[in-house]
């Protein structure tokens, strides 16, 4: 154990003195959170992403009044749309194609006339957009309701109430930014895959791995020292990451120590992936390339960043087991969401925690065995 601790201390000293590696290692998740905050954390309003383009051709006054109504329309106390006017239909279509707006509304020239006509002739509003875009579907849904309400007010027609909106418990409180924090944390922690692969590749390419072996350091000492050093780095990294999230307004109802424990566990799984990557890397450049190739699908296919289609393999005691559950990032992201977003305790995530521990231990063991066989035995 003494030798392992010596190896760990030596790895920490080297990493600390390599300010580029240590900086990226410790600040990568915090930087990811900051970037995510810039993208989604400004306000919780839908108007951030529901941009409505209006081409108002109405010869009367009601078109402009409709635009005002849409600009001030609210849902749950927040503006629904970010309304832009003054564009012609062609410019509007280009903006739609470029994904800069959710929907283009064309108010016809006879809009006022049609609404004021005693015969009730129809007003043909045009709504352009990409039917496969969630933003378009959201915008159209809200717009239909708002336009209908406007027309009802203008025509004096009153409908009986059709229902009330009521939010489920614990919903409606999670902002887009907060919802993304667990996934972003998972992404950041998985950087340990690259870092640990790099540490081992550096020893190999510099020849110091052979010196370690000559000095009587077993594979367990070398890999155990590197894993321990990464564990220490993860224990420093996690509070920095959560601190950054707190600074940017993230508030979790759950246990912070539990969340830190999950990220540290995931870090160990990432280190196991790093060991496996290092088995095939003779240089530092190869280590970065291979470990990135390993890390990327683990992050993006886990459901941590965006939802994945369900592919249930089987059930154990009522618990559905999916294929992607066998990546450490999946149970980690799920457990982090439960604790950070919904305030659940460890008893509510037994499946995720057991799976995460098993996968992390398995990956570490597999990485160590393959590294021993492919690299250390050849020295």
């Amino acid at each position: 154990m003494k030798k392992t601790l010596s190896m760990c201390w030596k790895t920490l000293l080297e990493t600390a003195r390599d300010w580029q590696l240590s900086g990226v290692y410790l600040l990568f998740p915090a930087a990811m959170i900051a970037m995510y905050f810039m993208a989604f954390g400004q306000t919780p309003s839908m108007s951030n992403w529901l941009t409505l383009l209006v081409d108002n051709r109405d010869r009367g006054v009601l078109g402009a009044q409709l635009v005002d109504a849409l600009t001030t329309a609210q849902f749950d106390g927040q503006p629904i749309f970010s309304v832009r006017t003054g564009l012609d239909e062609r410019s509007g279509r280009i903006a739609l194609e470029e994904g800069k707006a959710a929907l283009l509304l064309v108010i016809p020239a006879d809009f006022t006339d049609a609404l004021r006509s005693p015969t009730g002739s129809p007003a043909e509003l045009e709504m352009h957009g990409d039917p496969l875009s969630d933003n378009y579907l959201f915008a159209r849904s809200f717009l239909s309701g708002e336009v209908q309400a406007f027309i009802d007010r203008q025509t004096g027609w009153t409908r009986p109430p059709t229902g009330t909106y009521e939010f489920l418990p614990n919903t409606g409180k999670v902002s887009d930014f907060a919802a993304g924090v667990p996934g972003v944390l998972v992404f950041g922690v998985m950087f340990s895959t690259v870092a640990s692969a790099l540490m081992l590749a550096r020893e190999r390419s510099a020849g110091t791995l052979e010196r370690l072996r000559m000095s009587g350091a077993s594979g367990g000492v070398v890999l155990g020292g590197v894993a321990l050093a990464n564990l220490v780095m993860a224990l420093v990294q996690a509070p920095i990451s959560f601190g950054a999230a707190l600074l940017m307004g993230f508030r979790s109802p759950g246990s912070l120590p539990l969340a830190i424990g999950i990220t540290v566990l995931l870090c160990m799984g990432a280190v196991g992936c790093g060991f496996l990557s290092a088995c095939f890397a003779r240089s530092e450049g190869a280590a970065v390339a291979i470990s990135t190739a390993v890390m990327t699908p683990l992050v993006f296919l886990s459901g941590a960043i965006f939802p994945m289609p369900r592919f249930e393999l089987f059930r154990i005691g009522g618990q559905a087991v999916q294929l992607i559950d066998f990546m450490p990032t999946t149970p980690a992201a799920s457990a982090l969401s439960k604790v950070l977003l919904h305030g659940m305790g460890a008893e509510s995530m037994v499946y995720e925690l057991v799976l995460l521990v098993a996968l992390c231990v398995g990956l570490l063991a597999l990485g160590a065995v393959v590294y021993q066989r492919r690299v250390l035995r050849g020295l």
């Binding site: 052979e210 010196r211 000559m214």
Partner: protein, 315 residues
Amino acid sequence: MTNIILSAEGLSKRFNGLQAVKNLSLNVEEGEVFGFLGPNGAGKTTTIRMLTGLLRPDGGRVLLNGQVMQGGDAAARAQVGVCPQEVVIWKKLTCLEQLVFTGQLYGLDGQTARRNALRLLDELDLAEKRNSLSGTLSGGMQRRLNIALALVHDPRIVVLDEPEAGLDPQNRVGVREYVQSLAHRKTDRLTTHNMDEAERVADRVAIIDHGELLVLDTPEQLKRQVGEGDVLEIGLKNGRRDEEAAQAALSSLAANVQWDEAGAVLRVRALDAVGRLAQILGALEAAGFQPGAVNIRANTLEDVFIQLTGRRLRE
């Protein structure tokens, strides 16, 4: 009586069908500087890796102090210190940190490792740089640190692979003197392409090629026994040029004779001609020649090496 500390008995190793080392046997005595020479690809590194326990032989065995050394035997490895030809150091650690770290890996406690490290830094003129990151040291200093790393655990046998390579003359002399001083305390195994280095430092020299041990003896003995021999340029006072008479006079010494173009100087080439100078001059005088001034070019270890391994370039 000499004490054999390291023995190789019939070592063999094959890589992908290529016989790297073939039935190699040798003994290294305690306290000697043992030169291990061979062209590129001769099997030196493979032999050393087997002798230091880093590589398991396909056949034969290695005995360290009479005990069979097993691959991965940490206790056995602790008796050997290896200084590779390339500088292998941790550039982000200070000199002291990496020496203490290496000592601890060899099983020393922290205090002993630190004490040994400080002594070595002092002996190798690195004391002032003990807290400097090794990546910031000059090439010569890095090479001395490389040697210190092989010695920090106080091994009985030290393997130095071309310790003078890439050094300036001052550093080269310093390292050479240090290696020679080590010989009084431990056994040095020196592997090198530098014949001058081996000739100056080694007590005994082994020359290996194609995985086989060709010769093993002291440099002096090898120079006497192998190669084209020493060259004596003997000025003749009476200017008599009689090649046949000269050859006949020296026939019992297996010498090769040749006149220069002017016919005033007789060139005699024979193994250990320098050692038999008086005998050669006596034989020439008896044959009626009058030898004068004598120039000597002694057989070198390089001549021995080239004689044994050939002039063909290796990969």
